[in-house]
Structures are given as structure tokens and as C-alpha cells.
């Protein structure tokens, strides 16, 4: 009912193909950005920033990456965490070997390395589909995890096999407090989301979706499946790698390869499934959901039982709830929260009419 599209007519394709063609959406997005960049810095305390918002953003980025692969190009992957790891360790190593490199370059380098590894492990996707491919990505998961653990070179021969991110700074400003870190991550993530949205509505995005929806037809209209799939793997792993770098540098600071184990891969996959396959907003909704649910459970638990429950129990309940939600969403709405949101929006646009 808030949508009043009458009178919003388009006289150019530029306007009609704008990223947010409807005025009300532009406003909404504007408000959201204002809130994220201006309001939050004022209202959020360090706890919120460093243990909720920053992780949320970093994981959203990873989910965004996986969504490119699974949601848009229809190629399932269980190796997300591995690609994150590659990003993190590549960025770290570049800075260790060449200290004068600014961290942003290092991050991008991390992304690029991750992308190339992603493409490498994407090669099987040309012959195999579905969970066969999932297995291939699992191979990546275990192999990379092992590689980083067993070869000291990657951790710069750290005795305890961990990497410690060097302090961040940009143009002389030290990025050391939660707020500045938050703003940094936010900027990076927003830019990436914007880029993915653009790809999705461009020639590349259509190629991806064509491959996802009907690969035979896609070939018949001249889409090169190999290039398209590998590009998806590349872009996806680039984003995951970047996310990994953020995770290592800003969220954790000190990382061991096990921080990127298969559990993390599943976590990201869940975010995408719950959030919504094939939509940018889905990545964020999913991540938000996965981050907030445990906190919610915790508080609920303590309210119900009066006393705080053992973290173990919480963890187990978490497992169950996540699992249940995955199944629920796959049954009820495979396109996830994002789709639900979309339906609500449709309803609002038609209101009060049912159709």
C-alpha cells in the first residue's frame, strides 16, 4: 500500500533498467544506507560492532559469493570456507613478504588468488553436476585446509600455525577501533553487493541464469557453458576470498586454518539457502538470520529456564534449529527469505487487490 507507482513512467531505457526503478524502493534503499553509515555509528556500541555487525557483514559477503555460484549459476559448492581461507592466507602472505603493500591491494590479491583456485576446482563442473560437483568442492575444502596446516610457509613458520594480521591503515589513518573497522567492512561489502547486482542484471548474469535454468537451451543460443560456469566460479571465489581476508584481518585478527573448516562452508551454504538462492538481499538476510538466531536462542533459553543454559546445550539446539530451518525453507520456499520479502512486496503493490 506504500507503493504509489502511478505516474512513475519511464521515457528512457536507462531509467527503466535502473537498479531500483521504483521511486519508493530508491527512498527505502537511501534510508537503509543512511542508517548503516550514519545512524549505526552513533547508536551501536563496541560489542555490537565487533561481535555482531562486522562478522555479519563479512559472512554476508561470503554468502554473496556463494550465492553467485549456487543461486545465480546453479552450481553447488561445499568448499566456500576453503576459498575464504585462500583469500585470507594469500592476503597475509603478500603483506608478510612485501610489507609496503597497502592492505587493500592485499585483500584484492587475496580475492584474485582465491578466484584462480576456485576456477581450478570449478573445472570438474564441466563434466559433472549436482552433488557430484559438491564432492569436487569438498575435495578443495579438505585439500586446502590440509595444505595450509601442513606447510609452515603459508603461516610464515608460525610456531602455533596461526597468522596474525598486521595493523590496518589507510592514508595514514589507523583502522584500529571497531567503528573504523565497521565502516571499512561496510564500504567493501556494499560495493561488492552493488557489483553483484549489476552483474546479475547484465549479460553475464543472464548467461549464468540461463545455464542454471536450462543448460541445453543456453548452449543452443550460443552460451559457452564452460566459460560461463568458470566465470561464476571465479567471481564467486573472488568474493569469498575477499570475505576470508576480512574475516582474518578484521573479525578474528589471528587465524588458524581450522577457522575455515567444513562447518564454516555449511554455515555459509545455510545462509544462502535460508536467505534465498539467486538474490543479493538473500545473502544479507541469511547471514543476519544465522548470526542473530544463536543470540536469540541464548536469551530465550535464559528467559525460559530463568538461568543461562550451558553453551553446549545451546550449540546443540542451534544445530537442530538450523537443520530444521533448512528443511523447512527447502520445503516451503526454496527461494528463501528474500522470496518471502518479494511476495510481501508484490502484495503491497497490488493492495488492496488480491491479484
Amino acid at each position: 500500500m506504500i507503493y504509489r507507482e502511478s505516474g512513475q513512467f519511464k521515457t528512457t531505457y536507462k531509467a527503466d533498467q535502473a537498479i531500483l526503478p521504483i521511486f519508493q524502493d530508491k527512498v527505502a534503499m537511501g534510508l537503509l544506507m543512511f542508517f548503516a553509515f550514519v545512524i549505526i555509528p552513533f547508536i551501536a556500541d563496541d560489542y555490537w560492532l565487533s561481535s555482531i555487525l562486522i562478522p555479519f557483514l563479512a559472512l554476508s559477503l561470503a554468502a554473496l559469493g556463494l550465492n553467485v555460484l549456487t543461486g545465480y549459476a546453479g552450481q553447488i559448492s561445499l568448499g566456500t570456507a576453503a576459498f575464504m581461507a585462500v583469500g585470507a592466507f594469500a592476503a597475509y602472505n603478500l603483506q608478510v613478504r612485501v610489507p609496503e603493500v597497502p592492505f587493500l591491494i592485499a585483500f584484492i590479491w587475496g580475492g584474485l588468488c582465491s578466484a584462480s583456485i576456485g576456477i581450478l576446482f570449478g573445472l570438474p563442473s564441466l563434466r559433472i553436476k549436482g552433488f557430484y560437483l559438491a564432492v569436487a568442492t569438498l575435495a578443495a575444502q579438505f585439500f586446502i585446509e590440509w595444505l595450509l596446516t601442513n606447510f609452515g610457509w603459508f603461516t610464515n613458520y608460525d610456531s602455533s600455525g596461526v597468522i596474525t594480521a598486521p595493523p590496518l591503515g589507510i592514508f595514514g589513518f589507523a583502522i584500529d577501533n571497531p567503528l573504523s573497522k565497521y565502516l571499512l567492512v561496510l564500504t567493501i561489502v556494499v560495493l561488492c553487493a552493488f557489483a553483484v547486482r549489476n552483474l546479475a542484471r547484465s549479460e553475464i548474469g543472464r548467461a549464468w541464469m540461463a545455464v542454471r535454468d536450462m543448460d541445453i537451451a543456453a548452449e543452443a543460443i550460443g552460451i559457452n557453458l564452460m566459460k560461463t560456469k568458470l566465470l561464476a566460479f571465479g567471481v564467486s571465489s573472488f568474493l569469498c576470498g575477499l570475505a576470508g581476508a576480512l574475516w582474518a584481518y578484521i573479525v578474528l585478527g589471528t587465524v588458524e586454518p581450522q577457522a575455515f573448516d567444513i562447518m564454516r562452508s555449511f554455515e555459509i551454504l545455510f545462509m544462502v539457502v535460508i536467505g534465498g538462492l539467486g538474490s543479493v538481499s538473500g545473502a544479507f538476510l541469511g547471514a543476519g538470520f544465522m548470526i542473530l538466531l544463536p543470540i536469540l536462542l541464548n536469551n530465550l533459553g535464559s528467559i525460559v529456564t530463568g538461568s543461562a543454559i550451558s553453551t553446549e546445550t545451546i550449540a546443540h539446539i542451534e544445530f537442530m534449529v538450523f537443520g530444521a530451518f533448512i528443511i523447512f525453507f527447502l520445503i516451503v520456499e526454496p527461494k528463501g527469505l528474500a522470496r518471502l520479502w518479494q511476495i510481501a512486496k508484490e502484495k503491497l503493490r497490488l493492495w488492496p487487490f488480491p491479484y
Partner: protein, 645 residues
């Protein structure tokens, strides 16, 4: 900004001026290839000039006629402008008229050049070409399917437009030559009887009336109007062409017939004209759609519609309304009215007119209660439309409003006469008809029976010649009855009989969409129109409505004898293609009463059913015949005297 139209006394002159003062502002938009392709006033002028010079090259001279046939398309509006620049007279024709209807008009108007929309129209003209020796060239706008045409007189409009596109032509002389008494346009009225007559309207007629109208409603270059009504109909020429010339606002042409609603919604016109049937259609549709809404929505809808019904009009007329109800209405606006208007594309409507037929008070008030300033207008082609018009804050659904500024109206023997600056120059090549219509003092005969009520509003009852007498000697106004019937929403058309009869009876056409959805809701199975129309449950449904009408009539001393005693539901929809309706969908009474004589006799016999076979014309022109055995139902007459006694 109002200009002095004593110097700018013809459309070409105004257009030339617009090209300067409205430079860069949109004059025409067309939704094509998915976006609204816009033509600014200066482009429009430039193209008009190019087209004009092209037409002159192909031999078009002052005073000659040029036919315009097709849906509302920028290039067709352009053609009108071009013709006027050359001092030629544009003759728009109904795009859906069949070949021989066109033949009559093109022959009668001695048309030399026809500018048409598409293949469909070209084919029609080629069909009758041999009978039209004068017709030299046919220009088409949309080349689709016409590449292979070999006929030399068939040419693409683009040929002209593109040929001279970049050389700059000056036709100022021709434009200056045009004078206020030149014929601006010739419109054929699809008269309810006989052959169509060519109404000649001068620049003076149109401009003088239209400028007043614009003044009255304060139209400006920021207004938006959607052009969807036939170009051959006077309304389109006044509300779209003339007023956009004078106020400089933009005409928007929809993409195609089946996208009209979407396009309406996108544009959101600020100035909207629609005949009652369109408004009613919209309302029926809306109600049908609401039927399957969820409980809560439906409740909210019904509740707030009640609120609107109670307070909406007063708020619209700026009357005093308790604060609480203002707030409630505001809430309703957010939840229901606003979204509704938005869905119908009426959010931005400032000025809304209806005319041509009487409109159901309920429908009328429904739209007003939504905050849409809907007003009734009474007019005629012969008057350049405006005879009377509701004023803001002084609206009465039962009337057609106070007389229009500058127009005089008198009632003689119950019939309405008017005179004013808009009065037409006469019928083309039809002196005698002209004489019959305008007397030497300039009074024009409307042929409508009406009265002026005590707040100075004109009230139209019926066509004067249709007003007859029952054998009881009481007045019989069929149109009045028919409209009353049609207001109920499930009756699409009705034809009442009773002149020189003992009682009133009528034919009914059910509104398929409305009745069908009713049938679905009451899960009544039916195979098609004929079947549905024949169902006794439908008969009962209609009978209920007629009963309401009868009760209402019983109140009125003059009309209480006009209560409907018997009726039947026709087995086919009355159709313009079969000549039963005019192109503007007015009932052709005589034709119907001769074609269905058998049924009428049955109505006045003791029969309770009647077999009939009728010939019909399908969309594609093929002829066929359908037959049915129609049931006749009796109604009981309410007599108040009895009740009193």
C-alpha cells in the same frame, strides 16, 4: 499562463507559438518499444512542418479534405496538425468502422489523401478504392506486413518524414494564411438515425470554447492526458488536441489496446475523460477483483468505503467535516482509497469528466468519495462539446450541471436549445439538415428533452423524439428508464418500449463479466452468453433489479405508469457491428424495434416465451446466425395509491 487568443486565432499559429514558449516540454508521448517515446513541442512543430510540405508535394491544397483513420498515434495527431497548416481539413474516421461506412464518408467528404495507422486500415481502403476515384494516396504509419504491397498509392508516412527530416522548411506564409473562420476539422456524427453528417467546426468555434474551459479548470502545461478515445469523436479533439494546444500539456498514447490499463497506471493522467460505460466497467472490474480478497482486506475495504460514502464528497467539496472523520478518512486514504486510485491510475487526476450518457448516481458518487473530482458534462459535436458542466463544489449526480460560460440555453416544449460561440458552421453538403438544426437566430436544437432545476442545473431526461405517450396519456421516456436499469451494474443494455402501448416492457442485455462472476460465486454452470442469459436464476436476478426500479418509479407521479411490466433477456449482445448500436454505443431504437418486432409483439401478447433467429456479424466481418427460444417474465406493478388507501 494565459495567452491572447485573438491574435493566435488558429491552431497552426498556436502550434508555432507553442514551439517557442513550450520548447523542450513534451507534447506527445507514445509507449513504444517498452518506454514512453517523447516528442517535445518544438519537435512536434518541426515534424508537422515537414509532413505538411510533404503532403503539399503530393498535391494537397487549401480546403481539401484528408482522412485520418486509426487508433490514437502521434503521427496521426501530427497529420492533423500538418493538414491544418496547409489549410486543408482533417476528417478523422472511426478506426473500427467497416469498409462501406468508410466509403460513404470518404466519398461524401471528397477525400484525396488518407493517412491510416496500419495494414488493417489499408486493406479496408484498398477494398473500396475502386469506388473512390478521388482518393489519390494512402499513407500508413506502421509498416508491419505492408512491405509486399505493390499498389502505387500506398506509401509509408516515414517516406515523407524521413525524406525532408534535415532540410529546414518554412511554411510561415501558409500558417499566416489560416484565419479564425477557416474550418479546423470536420467530424462525422454517427447520428442515431440516417447517414452520418459532417459537422464543420471553425478555429473560432473550438478555440473560443476550449480556452474558456481551460480557464475554468486551470489546465496547465504540467497536465497529463491519456489519449484512448476514438480520434473521430469530438471529445478527443477538444480534450486532447485543442486543450493541449492551448494549455501546452502532453498527450500520451497507449502502447496497444491490451496494455491500456497498464499504460494508464504508468502515466497517471491528471486530466481524464471517460464515458459512463468506462467508469462503470472500471467499478465492476474492481468489485469483481475485490471478491476474492482475503477477509481482512475485504473488511477494511468495505468499512472504509462506507466511511468514504458518508464523508468523502463533503471533504472533496471542502464542506465542514468533524475532525475525527477527517482523520478516519485520512487513514482510509492511506489504506484503501490511495492504493485503489493508484491501481486504477487515477492517483493524480485533478479533472475528471463523464458525458454522452447518463451515469448511475452510485457509480458517480463512488468515484467522488475516493476523492476524484468527477464531473458531468453535457455537450454535442455541434456545440464544440460544451453546453453545460458541473462546477467544482457544485455537483449533483442527477443533473448535467449549470450552463457553460458564454452559452445560452432555452427550453421549448420540453426540448433543450442552446446558442454560443461554439456553435458549428453547418453540416457539410447538407443545407437542409443544417437549417433543421440551427434556426436563423442561431439557436441549436439538441433533440434532448430536459428541464432546468431550481439551482440552475440543466437536467436531461431523454431524446425529445423518443419521449412518447402511454395509452394512459402519461409521459413515456424510454432512455430515462433504460439508464435507471443500466445503473444496477449487471444490465449492460436495455431497450424499453411503451409508446402508444398500455404498459412498459423491455429487452435486457446482461453484463457478461458481472453476471458470469456472480454465476461462479453461486456455482451456476453455463456454456456461454446465450446459455447464461437464458437461465431462470439469471432472470430472477434481473427481476430483482427491475423491481427496485419499479419501486423508484412508483414514487414519481409523472412516471409511475412507466413501471416495467414484462421483460426478456436478449440472446445476443446488442452490437455496433450489427448496426444495433451507434459507434458511440447509443441504442438505435428504430432499427432494433424492426429487427426484433417479433419479440416486441410477444411482449405485448400473452406468450411467455418466443423463438427468434438473428443474423450476427463477427469481429472478422463473417456473418452467421444464432437462434434461441427466449423466456418472457412478468413483473408486478407497485401501486402506491393502493398502499395509501
Amino acid at each position: 499562463m494565459s495567452r491572447d487568443f485573438s491574435s493566435l486565432d488558429t491552431f497552426p499559429k498556436i502550434l508555432r507559438n507553442n514551439a517557442v514558449i513550450f520548447k523542450g516540454k513534451p507534447s506527445v508521448r507514445e509507449k513504444e518499444f517498452g518506454i514512453w517515446q517523447t516528442l517535445s513541442w518544438d519537435d512536434f512543430y518541426k515534424r508537422a512542418i515537414i509532413l505538411a510540405s510533404g503532403l503539399r508535394d503530393s498535391g494537397l491544397k487549401r480546403g481539401e479534405k484528408i482522412a485520418i483513420i486509426g487508433d490514437n498515434r502521434p503521427n496521426l495527431y501530427l497529420s492533423i496538425a500538418a493538414a491544418q497548416i496547409l489549410g486543408a481539413i482533417p476528417v478523422p474516421c472511426y478506426q473500427d468502422s467497416v469498409a462501406d461506412e468508410l466509403k460513404y464518408i470518404l466519398e461524401h467528404a471528397e477525400v484525396k489523401i488518407a493517412i491510416v495507422e496500419n495494414q488493417e486500415q489499408v486493406d479496408k481502403l484498398l477494398e473500396i478504392k475502386t469506388k473512390l476515384p478521388l482518393l489519390k494516396s494512402i499513407y500508413f504509419d506502421d509498416p508491419r506486413g505492408l512491405e509486399e504491397y505493390k499498389e502505387e498509392e500506398v506509401k509509408a508516412l516515414d517516406e515523407i518524414l524521413l525524406k525532408n527530416i534535415d532540410l529546414d522548411i518554412n511554411l510561415d506564409e501558409d500558417i499566416d494564411k489560416t484565419s479564425k473562420d477557416d474550418i479546423s476539422i470536420m467530424l462525422y456524427t454517427s447520428g442515431t438515425t440516417g447517414r452520418p453528417k459532417g459537422v464543420l467546426l471553425s478555429y473560432y468555434n473550438i478555440i473560443s470554447v476550449t480556452s474558456v474551459a481551460c480557464e475554468l479548470e486551470g489546465t496547465s502545461s504540467n497536465d497529463e492526458v491519456v489519449a484512448y478515445l476514438p480520434m473521430a469523436w469530438v471529445g478527443d479533439n477538444i480534450f486532447c488536441v485543442a486543450q493541449s494546444y492551448i494549455s501546452g500539456f502532453c498527450i500520451n498514447c497507449p502502447e496497444s489496446r491490451d496494455t491500456l490499463t497498464i499504460d494508464m497506471r504508468e502515466i497517471g493522467p491528471t486530466y481524464y475523460f471517460a464515458p459512463p460505460r468506462v467508469w462503470e466497467g472500471m467499478l465492476t472490474q474492481l468489485m469483481v477483483r475485490m471478491q476474492d480478497a482475503s477477509k481482512i482486506k475485504l473488511w477494511a475495504f468495505n468499512y472504509f468505503m462506507r466511511v468514504a460514502k458518508k464523508w468523502g464528497n463533503d471533504i472533496l467539496d471542502k464542506k465542514k467535516v468533524p475532525l475525527f472523520y477527517r482523520l478516519l478518512y485520512g487513514l482510509g486514504y492511506f489504506l484503501v482509497y490511495g492504493p485503489l486510485k493508484n491501481n486504477l491510475g487515477l492517483t493524480r487526476v485533478r479533472i475528471a469528466y463523464t458525458a454522452g450518457e447518463a451515469m448511475g448516481p452510485d457509480t458517480f458518487l463512488f468515484y467522488r468519495s475516493l476523492g476524484i473530482n468527477l464531473k458531468v458534462l453535457y455537450g454535442q459535436t455541434e456545440a464544440s462539446v460544451f453546453v453545460s458542466l458541473h462546477r467544482n463544489g457544485d455537483v449533483d449526480p442527477k443533473t448535467v450541471g449549470p450552463v457553460f460560460p458564454g452559452v445560452d440555453v432555452k427550453i421549448e416544449k420540453g426540448e433543450v436549445f442552446y446558442k454560443g460561440p461554439g456553435v458549428f458552421k453547418g453540416y457539410y453538403k447538407n443545407e437542409q439538415a443544417t437549417k433543421e438544426t440551427i434556426d436563423e437566430k442561431g439557436w441549436v436544437k439538441t433533440g434532448d428533452a430536459g428541464v432546468i432545476d431550481n439551482n440552475g442545473h440543466l437536467k436531461i431526461i431523454d431524446r425529445a423524439k423518443d419521449v412518447g405517450k402511454l395509452n394512459s396519456g402519461k409521459m413515456f421516456a424510454p432512455k430515462y428508464l433504460e439508464n435507471k436499469l443500466k445503473f444496477c451494474g449487471i444490465i449492460k443494455e436495455a431497450v424499453a418500449f411503451g409508446d402508444n402501448k398500455d404498459f412498459v416492457s423491455c429487452f435486457i442485455n446482461i453484463d457478461l463479466e458481472a453476471v458470469a462472476s456472480w454465476a461462479e460465486r453461486n456455482n451456476i454452470a453455463y456454456s456461454g452468453y446465450i446459455d447464461l442469459a437464458g437461465q431462470s436464476s439469471v432472470y430472477d436476478l434481473i427481476a430483482k433489479e427491475i423491481e427496485k426500479v419499479n419501486e423508484d418509479l412508483a414514487q414519481d407521479k409523472e412516471l409511475n405508469d412507466s413501471q416495467i411490466k414484462r421483460f426478456l433477456i436478449l440472446h445476443k449482445e446488442l452490437d455496433a457491428d450489427d448496426g444495433e448500436l451507434t459507434r458511440t454505443n447509443k441504442v438505435r431504437r428504430n432499427l432494433i424495434s424492426e429487427r426484433y418486432g417479433k419479440l416486441i409483439d410477444a411482449l405485448y401478447s400473452s406468450e411467455n416465451h418466443c423463438y427468434i433467429e438473428t443474423e450476427v456479424t463477427f469481429e472478422d466481418g463473417r456473418k452467421g446466425s444464432i437462434s434461441a427460444d427466449l423466456k418472457i417474465q412478468d413483473m408486478k406493478i407497485i401501486d402506491l395509491e393502493d398502499k395509501v388507501a
